[in-house]
């Protein structure tokens, strides 16, 4: 969870989300355009790096498979950028095939700003700091580079089953 | 004693615990090897669950001076991980892990030698004690200020002291015993602001603190007071802005915000 800073309050009228491939030409969604995509309901466990696991959380959002469908890229790594300036890195093949969503509802309620609303990335199979709150763009990278917390002590990958918490 | 932080975790034993307000508890802890502390310093309390999960929280110390006993007043935050335990479950004789004394910034010492941070503090080479001291506290934010008052009284210090204290109701006043005693402390003036309910016969209708109240209660900027301001983030930011507006040098204002997660 990227929560350490002022909480950004983003109106859905202002909100937009982009995927930026190596061509530099972003594919961008407004809030209405995101809502017009195929919305999925996801029930999953989430793993916090500070030892707790929350079982069976329910989210609604758009799969990254849907959002990447028209994006051409040959690069393998992604940097997620958030409103508020934080970043976190994830390999592309861990975001596709039903592994990640741009979520805007949690347990039946719209995501409030404290919990990353209006929309956050969720990547449930990785530690939850990878599930970037207030996500605004995914930028493709040729090589894996550490994001904000990964530069400062957290593991570059963050797999809970391997207990990849810290460097 | 110096302002330097101390790195050791020590064992503290609870020697007294009793209700301070309807939501807060006064806890006196005897800390093994405690080196004494300066007024305004804080300490960390670490609780460890049987599964190894530990949580650390900072608390201001309401006492000052040599001796191994520290006086805390802990307000219960209903969703907190640490404060509900300290307020509801901790018993006399229980042991706690204590780290401190901590912090050399939000502190006041009687009879101070020219302050270490004096040049950056708008004070030039004037000794800290030569400037009047304005304490401003909101709710449990009065705790470190109480230590400063006690330190001031214990040293029979002649620095003019004022406390402006904002609380919800008379029941919510922390350390009313210390504050009620100002008849014996000619160099201290206490102004209480009740925001929800005032005592019977109180001349002022309960209301939130205003810029006008601050202006009429605190030492004017022309007296060049050192200001210690402690409370919730909103309280601190609101009052600090008024002070700067009223001509106080921002470098003369020291703040301590309380988090909401304890």
């Amino acid at each position: 969870m990227l929560s350490a800073g002022p909480t950004p309050h983003i109106d859905t009228a202002e909100w937009e989300f982009s995927i930026v491939p190596e061509s530099g030409e972003p594919r961008t969604w407004s809030w209405e355009q995101l809502m017009a995509e195929k919305i999925e309901e996801v029930t999953t466990d989430i793993h916090c790096v500070t030892h707790w696991t929350k079982l069976g959380t329910t989210w609604r959002g758009v799969s990254l498979d849907t959002l990447f469908a028209d994006v051409e890229t040959s690069q393998d790594y992604v940097m997620a950028h958030s409103y508020g300036g934080y970043t976190t890195n994830v390999p592309l093949d861990e975001l596709l095939n039903g592994q990640a969503w741009i979520a805007f509802e949690f347990d039946g309620e719209p995501l409030d700003p404290e919990h990353g609303g209006p929309a956050r990335l969720i990547v449930p199979h990785l530690y939850f700091w990878k599930s970037a709150k207030w996500v605004r763009s995914l930028v493709m990278m040729a090589d894996d580079e550490p994001g904000f917390w990964e530069q400062s002590g957290y593991h570059i990958h963050g797999d809970p089953w391997k207990e990849e918490r810290y460097w | 004693m110096s302002g330097a932080s101390d790195t050791a975790w020590r064992v503290g034993t609870v020697v007294e615990a009793h209700p301070e307000t309807p939501s807060a508890r006064r806890i006196i802890i005897d800390v093994d090897g405690w080196p004494g502390n300066i007024a305004g310093q804080h300490l960390d309390v670490r609780l460890t669950a049987p599964d190894g999960y530990s949580a650390t929280r900072s608390y201001s110390i309401a006492s000052a001076g040599p001796g191994s006993r520290v006086d805390l007043a802990v307000d219960k935050l209903p969703d907190g991980e640490v404060s509900p335990f300290l307020v509801d479950d901790l018993m006399v004789g229980d042991m706690l892990e204590i780290h401190g004394p901590l912090g050399g910034w939000f502190v006041w010492e009687p009879d101070a030698a020219p302050d270490a941070a004096a040049e950056r503090d708008g004070g030039g080479s004037v000794a800290a004690s030569a400037r009047p001291v304005q304490l401003i506290g909101g709710g449990s934010g009065v705790v470190p200020l109480v230590a400063m008052i006690r330190s001031h009284v214990a040293a029979d210090d002649s620095t003019p002291f004022r406390l402006l204290y904002s609380v919800r109701t008379p029941d919510d006043v922390f350390f009313s015993d210390v504050l009620a005693d100002d008849g014996g402390m000619p160099a201290l003036r206490v102004d209480l602001i009740y925001t929800r309910r005032a005592p019977d016969g109180w001349p002022v209708t309960p209301a939130r603190i205003t810029r006008e109240v601050v202006e009429s209660s605190v030492f004017p900027a022309s007296d060049n007071p050192r200001v210690y301001l402690c409370g919730s983030t909103t309280f601190v930011e609101t009052v600090a802005e008024w002070l700067v507006d009223l001509g106080h040098d921002p470098r003369s204002i020291r703040t301590e915000r309380f988090g909401g997660t304890s």
């Binding site: 002590g153 | 050399g104 910034w105 950056r120 301590e256």
Partner: protein, 84 residues
């Protein structure tokens, strides 16, 4: 989420420094402002603590704590002044 003052860093940083660094002056790499760390803005939480410049909001430092280790990133500070 609200923030705290740099004062609150005294505990965790005492594990790294022999002096109290909250009274030390530091220069922000973002805007060049020089001020004591005690005046910085501190957000505590998961995954870690973020320290921001009170003048320009630039991230001065981060602190990540595990049960047995501590990581300090001071990359937003160009220099710290320490009294000898």
């Amino acid at each position: 989420m609200t923030h705290l003052d740099g004062n609150s860093l005294a505990g965790v940083l005492s594990e790294l420094f022999r002096f109290d660094p909250t009274t030390a002056s530091a220069r922000c790499a973002g805007c060049g402002a020089i001020d004591v760390l005690a005046r910085a803005m501190v957000w505590e939480g998961t995954p870690g603590t973020v320290v921001r410049c009170a003048s320009c909001d630039n991230v001065l430092a981060t602190i990540v704590e595990s049960d047995d280790k501590l990581w300090l990133n001071f990359s937003g500070i160009t220099a710290v002044e320490v009294r000898r």
